[in-house]
Symmetry: C2
């Protein structure tokens, strides 16, 4: 059994006291133990601020980009090993690529962005010079400078690789050292990746630290120069947001939490049409990729009431073809959930949905999977006939291969139902009717961080509803946490302070290149 | 005595129950009574969302800008009356212009920005198209759409006009109806301005509502589509930030709170030099304009230890010339504080500072002012000799004509002391030494929202340390609340949702003009 150590203040440290045991998602066998007991979080933050911060800030953006590029290179050398390790939390080969390759790809994207689009400087200009006097010797100019604290990155269990790297890459490029805290159930992969990165020597000391285990009193040590980026449950998000030190010091908090993402089938799309086929494949893919354990996965499928029986029939047929089991077995399409808690929680969630919706495909109680010890569940599709009065289907995020069909009567009701999610990461609209699309886009946009407005022309080239591209922002209002990550250069702003400089124009110009 | 009514759901409403009495700052005489008891805040928010929001969102940006222009025009017609009313909270003629003319000017600035720089559209594009597929039929594009809730704007007592208009103008231009809540001590002026605006008929119904009095259970009714912008004390800011409904719904909160702004005199600047004179005038101006009741006012004056006696002598001389009294009297330069509480609080604050610093000019207990009933205090300058061990001088914001001289030994200590403010709205650096300026700018920037980097060339044309320009962002990290307002087009983003659209490029282009 592996011991997952933490990397703190330049040393690998084994946690004291009781450790928690991680189990293999496919077999249920113990694979690793983890504990962060005894770590001095105040010292770790100081180490980051005093060693990592200055090391990064003396580099220009392209120099930091070069570090990212080396990091991606080192990880790429171990990509086969990392993909294989992903099986331990239930990933199929396809799932592993989404997480491992997707993460390294995101790192490489920011390396390229930093090399090609950012100036050879340490300060980022924002907008133009604003003249503030008639004679022109007094002007204003906005710039971004790196915050001088530590970026604390708390990740969810579903993406131990991508989740770490999509936060780490922008933070490092912006000039902020990072402290990474993976979710325990899949912390093994993150641990291994950090081990590879640290051993390679490509990351300057203090720039990357790892907490394997819980964060204990970490938040109490935060100042206005630190940032917390959190992906996980809404309830943990609320605890972070209201932590006394975070509130008192106005610590920046970026939260990505529960999201009841929807896909909306336009009234014009007939079963059998190419647009319908794309829609159907998207739903099945979102339900089954990573066994539905994606914060961006489709949870609500909004369909015209009159199409309900057709859609149910079509989806049933497609879902029946999804073979669930050991992802290393030929022909298996969907693996298990990450652990026993996740499985129990998904089943409890389905029970809540069943108060308002009926299961039309799949059996959440099915247990005849191989191997016996794994945390398997087959895809479960529900149908809600009275979604306007329902609450659970719009509010309970079941983190597994589960979605609910929601019948709507007319475009306005479709928009109203979509909004009942209370703010989501991503929504999809499938329709060829431009009037409907315009209306639905305007109706859904204020409640979403990302919107796919799909037709038969764009769908064949689509990267998919649930796939987060590094070019585009990722996050959503309300229930989704109100945060924002990625989006190219936009992502750097979360780790920088925008300052309006005022003075004589030559002096300001000079300062930009310091 | 005037009764300050609220404007709620299209009607002027008088508060029930016990009202609070407002007193004239100069004479202490009662001038108005105020109460918001009995207002239905849930209904007010619904009124804004259902009447005001749709009215604004059907307009293009230039159409909204035209509304702002008409508002500025109507207020300008009453400018003499409004300036005169400003005496009631202690404003001199100069103070009144800063608040009344400054507010209307900010409104006009956003009217002009909307007319000239924003598209004839309802959606704002953000950045370029991102290609996401080889064939080019699937791309990404970021847009901003207005949030569909209400912008709740809670203002401080020091700027009843500017404080309202600097929040209102960007919100309306972005497409969000607003609910304005002025601070009680100076609510009369805000009430009168809203009265003028509503009577003029230039503001569409539902777009502007007014709460005269307290906000009671208002926050409980907020959703993820609403925004709260608050200017005031750090303690009230913390209550807002941790309100259960705000936390649960991830309601956007923009806070501007306490700020221990500093001015930093470079070691190179000798007394008697033009740069020193500009520095000295800035300190005196910041201490006395609006009797020091500006959130941007200089609270800490960082000076080289060896210059301390020179600086004290020069400032004493200048401050001695400040005549305090009835602002309507010829020759009076500084008026009273806003009310009895403000005066008591300023005196208590000075007592805290005196534990670490000695008064070198002014007497906080002086009472021989005319008229007798006014809330007067003369400018008080303190000097702290051991600022590295001190805490109060860096943390207690005394909201009155009060500043502390802080001696530093060497540039690094100067930067360290400036940062002890824990995040500020604005800082000023006065120096001709470009190396020192570069070092100090980089050192101070992560802790500030705005930085003046002044020399003898820019100072004569300066708009002043404490004056917030609509072109530039206003806000600061940490103790200053972590918020951001204004900054031209940037200010609109606080009231809009950024969404990444994905689809075929022609469709996305069409959507931009809907």
């Amino acid at each position: 059994m592996v011991t997952l150590e933490s990397y703190a203040c330049g040393e690998w440290r084994r946690g004291r006291g009781n450790s928690r045991v991680l189990r293999h998602a496919v077999t249920g066998e113990p694979i690793a133990e983890i504990s962060s007991e005894g770590l001095d979080f105040g010292a770790m933050l100081r180490w980051g601020r005093e060693r990592g911060g200055p090391a990064l800030r003396k580099m220009t953006f392209p120099e930091r980009a070069a570090v990212l590029k080396k990091m991606a290179g080192v990880l790429n050398e171990h990509i086969e090993e990392l993909r294989e390790m992903a099986t331990s939390y239930g990933a199929t080969a396809k799932d592993a690529r989404l997480d491992v390759d997707g993460g390294i790809g995101t790192l490489a994207f920011y390396a390229s962005l930093g090399a090609k689009q950012l100036p050879e400087a340490r300060i980022l200009a924002d907008g133009d010079v604003s003249p503030l006097s008639k004679e022109g010797n007094f002007v204003g100019r906005h710039v971004y400078v790196p915050l001088e604290g530590v970026a604390v990155q708390i990740n969810a269990y579903n993406f131990p690789s991508w989740g770490m790297l999509e936060k780490l890459a922008p933070a490092l490029l912006a000039g902020m050292p990072s402290l990474v805290k993976p979710a325990t159930p899949s912390a093994w992969l993150t641990f291994r990746m950090v081990q590879i990165l640290i051993a390679s020597g490509v990351v300057p000391e203090g720039v990357l630290q790892l907490v394997s285990g819980s964060v204990s009193d970490l938040f109490s040590h935060l100042t206005c120069q630190d940032v917390v980026s959190f992906t996980g449950s809404a309830s943990t998000g609320e605890k972070i947001r209201t932590h006394p030190a975070i509130v008192r010091n106005a610590v920046r908090v970026n939260i990505e939490a529960d999201s009841l993402n929807c896909i909306l089938l336009g009234p014009d799309v007939a079963p059998g049409s190419p647009t319908f086929e794309h829609f159907k494949n998207e739903v099945v893919s979102e339900m089954t990729v990573k066994a539905g354990q994606k914060c961006t996965a489709i949870r609500r499928v909004l369909i015209p009431e009159e199409r309900a029986q057709d859609v149910i029939r079509e989806l049933r047929q497609s879902l029946a073809a999804i073979r669930v089991g050991d992802p290393r077995t030929e022909g298996v399409i969907m693996g298990p959930l990450v652990d026993e808690d996740a499985l129990a929680s998904a089943r409890q969630g389905i029970e809540k949905l069943e108060a308002e919706a009926a299961i039309v495909s799949g059996d959440p109680g099915r247990k005849d999977f191989e191997p016996k010890g794994g945390f398997f569940m087959e895809p479960v599709l529900l149908h809600c006939r009275d979604p306007k009065r329902a609450t659970a289907i719009h509010e309970v995020e079941v983190f597994g291969p589960v979605a609910t069909l929601v019948s709507y009567r007319g475009p306005e009701e479709a928009i109203e139902l979509a909004r009942k999610g209370g703010g989501s990461l991503v929504g999809s609209i499938y329709s060829e009717d431009e009037d409907f699309v315009a209306r639905a886009t305007l109706g859904l946009a204020p409640y979403h961080g990302r919107l796919m407005v799909m037709n038969a022309k764009s769908a064949p080239e689509s990267t998919g509803h649930g796939v987060v591209m590094p070019h585009l922002v990722h996050g959503g209002p309300g229930r989704a946490g109100g945060g924002e990550e990625l989006g190219g250069v936009r992502s750097l702003h979360h780790y920088m302070q925008r300052v309006a400089l005022q003075g004589d124009p030559e002096r300001l110009e000079r300062l930009l290149s310091t």
